[in-house]
Symmetry: C2
DNA sequence: TTGTACGCGTTATCAG
DNA sequence: CTGATAACGCGTACAA
């Protein structure tokens, strides 16, 4: 900020009054009533052609545009839905939001984004904000509904009193709203099976946080999957390291330096692609070749996966589809009959070369 | 969507009337006037303690929250600014938006995002939408203001009649609004000089689009810089390929296959990091080693730059700072005295290893 | 300290 | 076909 320098004061201008023309002004100038102006505006048929034209001319001349606030006040829908999620900086949520935005737009709605850091209690102010704006509905996405969040139940209940709510999240229980959840079982099963098929026996899991009950679901499922295949579930093969690339670097460093080389895992499953990215860097730095020295699988199938070296095998949770479904359900449940149900999209394993396989798309039962 | 399956109809619930309580309801139930309720709501001092408490209790009981529409109508600001830019899918704009969002929030404002594809005319509907919502101001970002866009002048003028406007963009002329622009000169100069210093003489530029006058600025500056250093500005050393990784792959493929090996450039400057990412992949695929076989520099200093192989040298345009400045200026120019000026943040070269240098941060005059 | 009444910009209803 | 006029929900003078 201080290093930004202003320059070139080019000039000054700008109208003085900042657009204050109302429907009254138009009506007066056109010599009609406000009702007629409204009729022209909404294309109502019962208005004489010449009147319509005259009014329209005035409207155009002033580039008059009715106020949304006033219009909303009159009782109709604001045609806006809210979407509450972690900051778009996380590319997974970027995709989620983008798809929601497009779907909303396709239905004549606007998707207002409310960013919220994860693992932070639902602030009462946020709920207030949503209600104040009289949104047509809200989508909560991300690990929003973890039981750690205080005031969750209350917030949800209060909100639902005003508008429909749908959650896009890991499988959660007791959620009294429509819930579109990700396939966390497949998300663990797919990569483990894939690695097992390729002959791997010592498989580790890095990323996330075991202490957060919902986020740990991934880790739990991973362990169950290992046991189902009679693979060792050594605690040393699991390290929490958060959700970004830096965490991935740290995780690898910590795990491998703490382990006798003969006990090193031969494959890594990362919480997400960001973590995997960091892990790959650290692995190379330690002199390992990929995928020979270590196989690795990410999650989210981000845009950069085909461009890592080697290209990264990853699980696609199809956030776009989930977002679109969420928006559609939200718009459908517009009216009071608030149903409550869950829906799920299967995960897909996108095989590239970070595990030494070259199979293209592949889906395991 | 069709592959998403519903399951587990858990139950049904939801209040029937979807929150219709108004300030009148509260007033009646508390046995006071609406004015008093308002006073309690806004923490006005002149209200007796017991009255306040009684009213507050009713408010809490109903979880009453005043309507934003009604409040806005009353004349005050909507405390919302708009930010119009390309889809947040592009990580550069993600950062831009995120910073704007935070800065707005820090000032008690909300930043409403309006996504618009680049190189598309400013739709009248969009401007209508912005005006309809009576925003406190609008930020336009990206290559929005290219002269190719039809109706640009008109849209801007009309908009400015309603609210302050600031543009975050490449240097543009004749923009009758506050303009925070990126340092496109430095953006070309820095990488060229860096490569020149390292001994490179045949330097190519890939990405963007020469046909779009504003986007081509980068290319123009690049050429000028080459000439200033007496380097060859062979047209074959420039290929348009858009703005994503796939484009980068294509660009490399096209350029190198069309060129005799002895005339190959020894270094590549990419329009942005996405393009550079694709280029790196294609270069490796053609058997070149990086940076020995080819040096490469990206732009935007994206999160993945430290994690490419080799880590990518890139130019940082500091989108976050620009966004924050834009928001601040917007909020400042709240009142009618619409000044018009430009400000610029210097670009910075972040040196990593994709050019074979190991210098850390480095800034060239 | 509290209440009354009006304005904010639109739409909808009901007369003409 | 068109024009008054009443909501809509809230803030705010002004009055009590």
């Amino acid at each position: 900020m201080e290093s930004i320098r202003k320059s070139r004061t080019v000039g000054s201008g700008g109208k003085s009054v900042m657009g204050k023309i109302t429907i009254y002004d138009i009506a007066r100038e056109a010599g009609v009533s406000t009702a007629t102006v409204t009729r022209v505006l909404s294309g109502h048929p019962s208005v004489r052609a010449d009147t319509r034209e005259r009014v329209q001319r005035i409207i155009d001349a002033h580039a008059y545009t009715p106020s949304a606030s006033a219009r909303d006040l009159e009782g109709r829908s604001t045609r806006t839905i809210g979407i509450v999620m972690p900051p778009v900086i996380n590319p997974y949520f970027t995709r989620l939001y983008n798809a929601a935005y497009e779907e909303a737009q396709a239905n004549g709605y606007y998707a207002a984004l409310f960013q919220m850091n994860e693992n932070q209690p639902i602030r009462r102010e946020l709920v207030d904000e949503l209600i104040r704006r009289r949104l047509g509905g809200v989508i909560f996405a991300g690990n929003i509904w973890s039981s750690e969040r205080s005031g969750l139940k209350e917030a949800l209940e209060r909100l639902r009193n005003y508008m429909p709510v749908v959650a896009v999240c890991p499988p959660a229980t007791q959620l009294d709203c429509i819930c579109v959840h990700s396939d966390l079982v497949g998300c663990s099963r797919l990569p483990v099976r894939h690695l097992h098929t390729l002959g791997h026996r010592r498989i580790a899991f890095i990323g996330g946080s075991m202490r957060l009950s919902d986020a740990s679901r991934r880790g739990q499922n991973f362990l169950e999957e290992l046991r189902a295949l009679d693979l060792p579930d050594d605690p040393a093969y699991h390290v929490d390291c958060g959700y970004d690339a830096e965490g991935g670097e740290r995780a690898v460093l910590r795990m491998l330096t703490n382990l006798d080389r003969r006990r090193w895992p031969t494959a890594l499953i990362a919480f997400n692609d960001l973590v995997a990215l960091g892990a790959m860097k650290q692995l190379k730095q330690m002199g390992l070749r990929l995928p020979e020295g270590m196989a690795i699988i990410g999650c989210d199938n981000q845009f950069f996966c085909p461009y890592t070296d080697p290209p990264m095998t990853s699980v696609d949770l199809h956030p776009e589809e989930m977002a679109r479904s969420a928006v559609r359900e939200l718009l459908l449940s517009h009216d009071g009959d608030a149903k409550t149900f869950s829906m799920m999209r299967d995960a897909t394993l996108v095989v590239r070369e970070s595990c030494g396989a070259r199979l293209g798309y592949r889906k395991l039962g």
